[in-house]
């Protein structure tokens, strides 16, 4: 095949080529392709403005946080469909606690994280202990979580506008924590939500790379039976994976609420699919055992930038869906290892 002769010819060029044929290299190719798209369709130079890149990163942040948790779960060979719903529970809970009940910010944040972790832990228990398939357990949690979000809000958005018993609308002051999370630092060039996202990514990355738990996740994804035989606490490790995903959802929900200045029980619908696409485009294997947080970072940037480029060019909805579908296939195809 011309493909293999090309590859062997390129091999002589050394390290650069070795990088390109690694997983990270392949993921980078997809990202570079998307950036090229941006250079060509730059929307009258809008693509070259710093603000555009800041916004692209900020917009990708909520999805990015979800994708971090999703990566952990996918490495074990599982999937988490409930991320969007848990995000909504956290967003409305955060809004109720801070906007309506005037709880201090840190207690509210902590409560949301505990609830998110709890919902993730329920999925984890169903999967690790009760041996439900991850797809089914998290599908149930996706439905259940949406129900929780709607139940505690009565189906209404939780905002600074409260209706009192006479039907009059009172406008409350937006708590400081909302403004803090939705602000920017470093001369207005980095959004706080982006920092939160990068922080979540970095911590999880460190755990995956350095901690025993990280190695155990990979070994479960590779072969669960042999992992169990070699003494890996399979149940506990899996349980933790879904709990971590739940925590990430809670953090993403807080970031979402702060940016919307309200808690919307419908928030996060369909976000699970974007998060999965980000993980897969990065090159983490859906079957488990292979992948990593660095790859997911590239996947997040690829999808994030793609959406932004389509948006600044005001591409109609139909075109966006077509192009996104094609890019996902192209990206995953470049990911595929030579099988000969």
């Amino acid at each position: 095949m011309t493909d293999s002769t090309q590859t062997s010819a390129l091999m002589k060029e050394g390290r650069f080529v070795r990088f390109l044929s690694s997983s990270a290299g392949r993921a980078t190719i997809a990202f570079v392709l998307v950036m090229l798209l941006g250079l060509i369709f730059n929307a009258d130079g809008a693509f070259f403005k710093l603000g555009m890149h800041r916004d692209a990163l900020r917009q990708a942040s909520v999805f990015g946080i979800l994708a971090v948790g999703m990566t952990v779960v996918i490495i074990t060979g599982g999937i988490d469909l409930s991320v969007g719903s848990i995000l909504a529970v956290s967003a409305v809970l955060f809004s109720i606690l801070t906007l309506h009940l005037d709880w201090p910010a840190w207690i509210s944040i902590l409560s949301c994280i505990i609830v998110g972790a709890g919902l993730g832990a329920i999925s984890g228990t169903l999967i690790a202990v009760t041996k439900l398939q991850p797809f089914i357990a998290t599908l149930a949690m996706m439905t259940f979580g949406r129900g929780v979000a709607k139940y505690i809000t009565g189906g209404q958005k939780i905002s600074t506008y409260l209706t009192n018993s006479d039907g009059e609308v009172i406008i409350k002051e937006l708590p400081r924590i909302f403004k803090v999370i939705d602000s920017r630092i470093m001369g207005g060039n980095i959004a706080i939500v982006s920092i939160i996202f990068l922080f979540c990514l970095l911590i999880t990355w460190l755990f995956l790379a350095k901690h025993k738990w990280g190695r155990e996740l990979f070994s479960i994804g590779g072969n669960e039976e042999s992992a169990r035989l070699s003494g890996v606490p399979v149940k506990w490790t899996k349980f933790l994976a879904y709990t971590v995903s739940g925590i990430m959802c809670a953090i993403a929900g807080i970031a979402q609420a702060a940016q919307e200045t309200q808690g919307d029980p419908e928030a996060g619908g369909g976000y699970e699919l974007t998060a999965i696409a980000m993980v897969v485009i990065g090159g983490t294997n859906m079957a488990g055992g292979r992948g990593g947080m660095g790859l997911t970072l590239i996947g997040i940037l690829t999808i994030g930038y793609l959406e932004k480029i389509l948006s600044i060019n005001a591409v109609p909805e139909s075109g966006r869906l077509l192009i996104t579908g094609v890019i996902i296939v192209l990206a995953v195809l470049t990911q595929r290892k030579n099988r000969n």
């Binding site: 809008a46 555009m52 139940y151 009565g154 209404q156 958005k157 905002s159 406008i171 939705d182 005001a314």
Partner: protein
């Protein structure tokens, strides 16, 4: 493992029963009346705040009367589920049916069947095909979109305006009508739409698209959101860029705790009400139940809320 499965099943069953305890909050009990009328209210999707408001309007009007009891059903945006809801109301022999259908075609048959069973039907907001119903109540999105366009032309009178249009789902009739009405009104004027995007009614999308518009255009005079959340999302984007002072924001729907509150708060410059008709439906239902003949079609009027008139309850359009 078997034991844990039994425990889980037991837990799930107990969750089910506890949640059923909450279920009876659905219906309205009333007492002290000679003849108690039962009204079935079939709502197509309570996932939308505007439809939550419609049910709230039905409820607050119905609460004023002792002799009616309303039973609510939410089809969760599922046509077939709504069809079975209508059939359930018919077999429960309600005295009157109010339906806000998801789609015209598939729900025309069930509505006719209710009529054939002798149950009067009020169709709210979206129509059914033909005229086999008692009364239709709804507002006209083309007229409201047009009013928004006329307001922009008037406000910027002669100076011209560069407009960003953040559209509702363009495969849905309300989104199309609000778009077409607006474009019709600004045709031939010096108001120009420089950026448009389908944000599918969703606020996070609106913020995203507005950021793109801001990074592309240094000169934007007004944002027209097809609903108030879209305009609000655009405002948040402009505020983050420090440009909210240069841009006017207008939206549609004017829910009390949403659009109207945004205008009061100085976020939106104007919002055009898209009335739910929930209260009118109950008033008309009482007439029908009393045996009066009613108009076949009621087109609801709209109200305009601006910074100047929001404290006095807005003004009627037309």
């Amino acid at each position: 493992m078997r034991k844990s499965r039994i425990v889980t099943v037991f837990m799930l069953i107990s969750i089910m029963f506890t949640s059923l305890l909450f279920a009876n909050g659905q219906s309205e009990e009333s007492t002290t009346a000679d003849k108690l009328f039962t009204i079935g209210m079939s709502q197509c999707n309570l996932g939308e705040p505007w439809r939550v408001q419609m049910n709230a309007d039905v409820k607050s009007e119905a609460d004023k009367y002792d002799n009616i009891k309303v039973i609510y059903k939410d089809a969760q945006n599922d046509t077939l589920k709504q069809r079975s809801h209508v059939e359930e109301f018919v077999s429960a022999e309600v005295d009157l049916l109010i339906i806000s259908p998801k789609e015209a075609q598939p729900l025309t048959g069930p509505v006719s069947a209710a009529m054939a069973a002798g149950i009067p039907v009020i169709v709210l907001d979206r129509a059914v095909i033909g005229d086999d119903y008692t009364q239709f109540i709804g507002a006209d999105n083309v007229i409201i979109g047009k009013a928004a366009g006329e307001w922009v032309v008037e406000t910027f009178g002669g100076k011209g305006a560069k407009v960003v249009e953040l559209m509702g789902l363009q495969t849905s009739p309300p989104g199309q009508d609000r778009h077409n009405g607006f474009r019709e009104a600004i045709k031939g004027s010096d108001v120009e739409v420089i950026f448009e995007a389908d944000v599918k009614w969703l606020e996070p999308n609106a913020r995203k698209e507005m950021e793109s518009a801001l990074s592309r255009f240094d000169d934007i005079d007004l944002v027209y959101g097809h609903n108030d959340p879209a305009a609000h999302g655009a405002y948040l984007a402009a505020k983050a860029a420090g440009r909210e002072g240069d841009i006017q924001f207008i939206g549609i729907d004017a829910l009390p705790h949403e659009g109207v509150a945004y205008v009061k708060d100085g976020i939106l410059n104007a919002t055009f009400q898209y009335p739910t008709g929930g209260n009118i439906a109950i008033q008309q239902a009482l007439k029908i139940l009393a045996g009066e003949t009613v108009e076949k079609n009621i087109t609801l009027g709209s109200r305009l809320f601006t910074t100047d008139n929001v404290d006095t309850g807005g003004v009627e359009l037309k």
